[in-house]
């Protein structure tokens, strides 16, 4: 489609001649004989170029120029002026006329003026396109950027949360400033808490803390620790640390990654303690065999000399060795294999009294008092009497050890009670021995953990806990350092 042009002149002849020229130059020509008519056409067609005479009756060309520029600022107006009106022509430039041509109109100069006006329109259009394009481009790009950033942030958060280990960020005061989802699941949303309080229930930082080492030397450190989840479960974790430094290279925070290796360690411990157990078993057996030789030696001399004293001594020795052997074999059996429970209906009162009768002499030897408190209405409950017997005996023996360790109190006693609630049969063993701090209490049932140094194997309570768990029961511990410990052993009173 040809570009439109509006030709305004009061002289019919000029409109005709100029109209033909403009048509020939490739314009679609609209004409008006005065200003009012011209504005009407502008309103209807909005032609990009207006060619107007300056001198016209009624509204003159300058007035028309002003109005067009006001209503359609993008319309280019070329003024036609007589030689004598050159000043008006120049004035029209002030009102943003694109150009003016002088009468009599030279085709060349009109062509130049038209070309200039067209170029002006094109340039403006291009500029407008560019501007719009640019705005669109900037908008698009920044939207993309925001989206990318959001995705990246989301991705990092996702990674942070989904990494199959506990991640926490710790500041210099040892407070947690960020934790991932896994951490929250097992240790709660502990932001702002001290890491040692969350991980270990401690009131002061742990010794050999890898985070503090990293704050000191900006290096990554590694350690292994037993931590306690919010449900009270002990986890063995491998901990790596990495510094988060400011632009001076000074660590402001430390990131800690902890991997749960409880299962692996359980297996390893199982194996290594099995190895140790084998070593100690073979050593024990050698001792037992030597003792048995001793008993036989006495028996042989007793028979030879017909000496009843010697015979008795030899027989006693053999009896002691046999009971030692029995205990050792039982220990190995419980440890080596998760033994099938042998459910039986147990008269709880008789069971408890039998247990008391076994432990009481051991306590009285050491001057430790023994108080029993049995609820006589407990009746019969189904459980594996042999297994539970050994679990309770283990706890009772631990209670004795706790009393013997404690040098601060003048008297020690152990309270052994049996009671029941709606769903449980409860054995309680309470001592006023040395007691334990929270950290020790939490680790108590961990395989191979012993608070007794060389004297303990770390097997006893692990086995006791295993036995009670096999019964769908639970062992709860309350303890205060220096005051004493209470074990609650809860067994479901109906077999489930």
């Amino acid at each position: 489609m040809n570009p439109q042009i509006l030709l305004v002149d009061d002289e019919d002849g000029i409109r005709k001649v100029l109209g033909i020229f403009l048509s020939d130059s490739g314009y679609d020509v609209l004409t008006a004989e005065n200003g009012e008519k011209a504005l009407e056409i502008c309103r209807e067609y909005q032609p990009p170029i207006v060619l107007s005479d300056i001198k016209m009756p009624g509204m003159d060309g300058i007035e028309l120029l002003k109005r067009i520029k006001k209503l359609y600022p993008e319309t280019e107006v070329i003024m036609i002026s007589a030689h004598g009106d050159i000043e008006l022509a120049i004035q029209s430039l002030k009102y943003e006329a694109a150009d003016f041509v002088l009468k009599p109109i030279q085709n060349d100069s009109l062509e130049v003026a038209l070309k200039r006006a067209t170029e002006k329109i094109l340039t403006r259009q291009k500029l407008k396109d560019y501007t719009e394009n640019l705005e669109r481009l900037v908008k698009e790009k920044s939207e993309k950027l925001v989206e990318t950033e959001r995705l990246a942030a989301q991705r990092y958060q996702q990674l942070f949360d989904e990494v199959p280990c506990y991640i926490s960020v710790i500041d210099k005061s040892m407070k947690l400033t960020a934790v991932n989802r896994r951490f929250k699941e097992d240790f709660g949303d502990a932001m702002g808490s001290y890491c040692y309080a969350v991980y270990k229930n401690r009131t002061s930082p742990c010794s050999n803390c890898p985070v503090q080492l990293t704050f000191e030397d900006t290096q990554s450190h590694y350690s292994e620790a037993v931590v306690t989840s919010k449900t009270g479960e002990a986890h063995i974790v491998l901990v790596w640390t990495a510094p988060i430094c400011d632009h001076h290279g000074t660590p402001i925070q430390v990131m800690e990654m902890a991997t749960d290796v409880t299962q692996v360690r359980k297996l390893q411990n199982h194996l290594s303690s099995l190895g140790l157990l084998l070593g100690s078993v073979s050593h024990n057996i050698k001792g037992l065999l030597t003792g048995l030789d001793g008993g036989m030696y006495s028996l042989t001399s007793g028979f030879a000399k017909k000496n009843e004293e010697l015979l008795k001594e030899g027989f006693e020795t053999v009896k002691i060795i046999v009971s030692r052997l029995r205990k050792m074999v039982l220990d190995i059996l419980y440890y080596a294999k998760e033994r099938e429970l042998q459910w039986e209906k147990v008269d709880v009162l008789a069971f408890a009294e039998e247990l008391a009768a076994i432990i009481e002499p051991k306590l009285s030897v050491h001057g430790v008092g023994f108080i029993t408190c049995f609820d006589s209405s407990v009746g019969t409950v189904e459980f594996d009497a042999g297994a539970v017997h050994s679990a309770l005996l283990n706890i009772l023996e631990n209670a004795l050890d706790a009393c013997l360790e404690d040098k601060n109190k003048p008297d020690h006693h152990i309270l052994f009670s049996v009671k029941q609630d709606e769903n449980h049969l409860i054995f309680e063993i309470q001592d006023n021995g040395i007691g334990m701090d929270k950290e020790t209490t939490d680790k108590l049932f961990t395989l191979f953990f012993s608070s007794k140094g060389q004297k303990g194997t770390g097997l006893g309570l692990f086995i006791a806990d295993t036995i009670i768990r096999q019964h769908s029961g639970i062992i709860l511990v309350e303890s205060s350092k220096g005051i004493g410990t209470t074990f609650h052993v809860k067994l479901p009173n109906a077999r489930c």
């Binding site: 073979s282 050593h283 024990n284 050698k286 001792g287 065999l289 030597t290 003792g291 048995l292 030789d293 001793g294 008993g295 030696y297 006495s298 001399s301 001594e313 020795t317 002691i320 060795i321």
Partner: protein
Amino acid sequence: MAKKIMVVDDDPIIVKYIVRIAQDNGYETCSANDGIEAYTRLQEEKPDLITLDLQMTEEWGPQFYRRLAKEEEYKHIPIIVISGLASRHLSIRKAVAYLAKPFDPVELITIIQKTIGK
């Protein structure tokens, strides 16, 4: 005068056993349950020979031996190690014999007799 043998072992049954073997062969005896007790009794008992267990709860054999070896008065007392430990313990180099538990009583007596006479 009969020679005296000190039996050091933390298991009273094994102490009794070795004591009986020694007495039946005409030796005098004394005993201790760990290294510390053995060391404190050396002065009054003045044994001619010591049988020593290695793994004892209070003070273990090699430690007792090191203390013994430092004393001019005691370092010549012959020692027979009677232990359940699998390997000969290097720190008791000068022992006259190592017997692994369970040991042969005849072998023990033969060694004792060879070392300090009947």
